[in-house]
Amino acid sequence: MSENIAQLEIKALTSGYGEIQVLWGIDVGISAGETVCIIGSNGVGKSTLLRTISGIVKLTGGSITLDGVSLNNATPEDVLSAGIVHVPEGRRLFSAMSVRDNLLMGAYLRKDKSAIQDDLEYVYHMFPILAERRRQDAGTLSGGEQQMCAIGRGVMGRPRYLMIDELSLGLAPRAVDLLFEALHNINQSGVAILLVEQDVMNALEFADRAFVVDQGKIIVSGNADEVAANPLVQEAYMGVV
């Protein structure tokens, strides 16, 4: 897909924390139903980008628009209501609450009770282990199960764009495969996915398009297979010399 039909459009975005500027002019566009991954090493601003889109960190310049509507000054609630859901790094579950309550928290802003129930069944169907452990405290789940719960919680917000920060961090390869498969299914149901990932191989295999971030800027972008073939990316992230 080409960038000029992008619906979630990020242009010349700058942002940071207080005096420290992290993003130095990011341009990213995502169309409905697409899968996009953002790769790059530690501390280059990938998470900050997601946090800025979801309104937790205020942008200092540039623009974020969804279907032409500006989200520059949006609060996290506005962003959520607009259909952009952020699954944060490190899962951030409510560890002393049950799995079911955690999932329901994802639908906190929604008022359509019966549809929420349907979505809960959908998540249980997607991750049967969560159905089995619905009464258990989320803190007692394994890492992979917690990530499932976090993604399920994201799905409960009925996103059009699902942003996931570090899907595979610290998880067993088997769990990672399962999660990517689930993401694929979520994408098939029409949800666009913006994935931030350090596992470059898996991410490029999964996504349609990719952006490489370095020092707060996009240095390479394009279709995932092109990016994967880029010598710079091969050298820096895949260990190909």
Partner: protein, 307 residues
């Protein structure tokens, strides 16, 4: 079962003044007051997880607002109500200012509220009487009748607080509080407006305490700053909630009753060292019932501990 128990308890408490002597009625009034304080603290401390030490500030505000209004000829019921309202507004404004602090820092900021208010009241002696204290007009009814009046008034405020606590606990609001308590960053991401919610929790922890403070002032007829801005009024509710069970609906009441019973027994038997004995008991209770009485595993206890 639970509903029957609550019903029986309410009927028993309603009938209490007709059977008990003045001492019992006085003790029961204190019990109601403690319940209000503990239930109120539970909103901010137990449910939302912010360790507030401001209870005494709200109590003192309530007491002084009630006293000043009554001294100016306002009907006592209206004065009590206004006291709760002023405490609520004060908490909402202060909450905006200090609720961005977390943990110890929030605790210290809320504690400072008590100290500052005490000094403010101390120095504004034109309105408050300063260190000389303030007299509240005595109601022209018999001792028994006024005892009953204050008992039933505290009872109504306690019931109101309990009803609010129960409603909040089961509502979306309470769900939001618990999420903030566990992971504020995640709660924010899911669309919980944490600033607003924390301010609501803090205000809820003030309104009924303000009313109780005003009723207390009318009840004892004389207040002075160290009496109503007493740091123990801040500490005791925390201990009660810890005893009963944090973040639950009935835990604070169980804690308040248990604390009052301990206080009375210890006070009677260890007159000179009662604070030390009470402190020791609290340490033991917290060590052996870390989650509060509501979470005590009775079955396991009677069966004997199994590994």
């Amino acid at each position: 079962m639970k509903k029957i128990a609550i019903f029986v308890a309410i009927v028993a408490l309603l009938a209490l003044p007709y059977f008990g002597n003045n001492y019992i009625v006085r003790l029961a009034t204190v019990m109601m007051m403690y319940s209000v304080l503990a239930l109120s603290w539970n909103f901010i401390g137990g449910m939302a997880g912010y360790p507030s030490f401001a209870t005494a500030a709200f109590f003192g505000i309530g007491a002084y607002v009630g006293a000043i209004l009554q001294a100016n000829g306002i009907f006592f019921g209206a004065a009590w109500f206004a006291a709760g309202l002023i405490a609520l507004i004060f908490a909402a404004i202060m909450g905006r200012a200090i609720l961005h602090l977390r943990g110890h820092y929030f605790a210290i900021a809320s504690l400072v509220m008590v100290e500052v208010l005490r000094e403010v009241v101390n120095t504004n002696d034109q309105i408050t009487g300063g260190g000389m204290g303030m007299n509240i007009p005595i109601l022209k009814i018999s001792v028994e009748a006024s005892g009953m009046l204050f008992y039933y008034s505290m009872f109504v405020v306690a019931l109101l607080t309990l009803a609010t606590a129960s409603w909040v606990y089961h509502s979306k609001l309470g769900f939001g509080f618990r999420c903030i308590q566990q992971n504020e960053a995640a709660a924010n991401m899911l669309g919980v407006d944490s600033t607003k919610y924390k301010t609501i929790a803090f205000s809820l922890s003030a309104v009924f305490v303000g009313m109780a403070g005003a009723i207390y002032a009318s009840w004892v007829n004389y207040i002075e700053p160290p009496d109503v801005f007493d740091i123990f009024l801040t500490i005791k509710p925390v201990v009660m909630v810890l005893l009963g069970g944090m973040g639950t609906v009935f835990g604070p009441i169980i804690g308040a009753v248990a604390f009052l019973a301990l206080e009375e027994i210890v006070w009677r038997n260890f007159l000179t060292i009662h604070s030390a004995v009470l402190g020791l008991l609290i340490v033991l209770l917290v060590l052996f019932l870390p989650k509060g009485a509501l979470f005590f595993d009775y079955r396991q206890f009677f069966r004997g501990r199994k590994k």
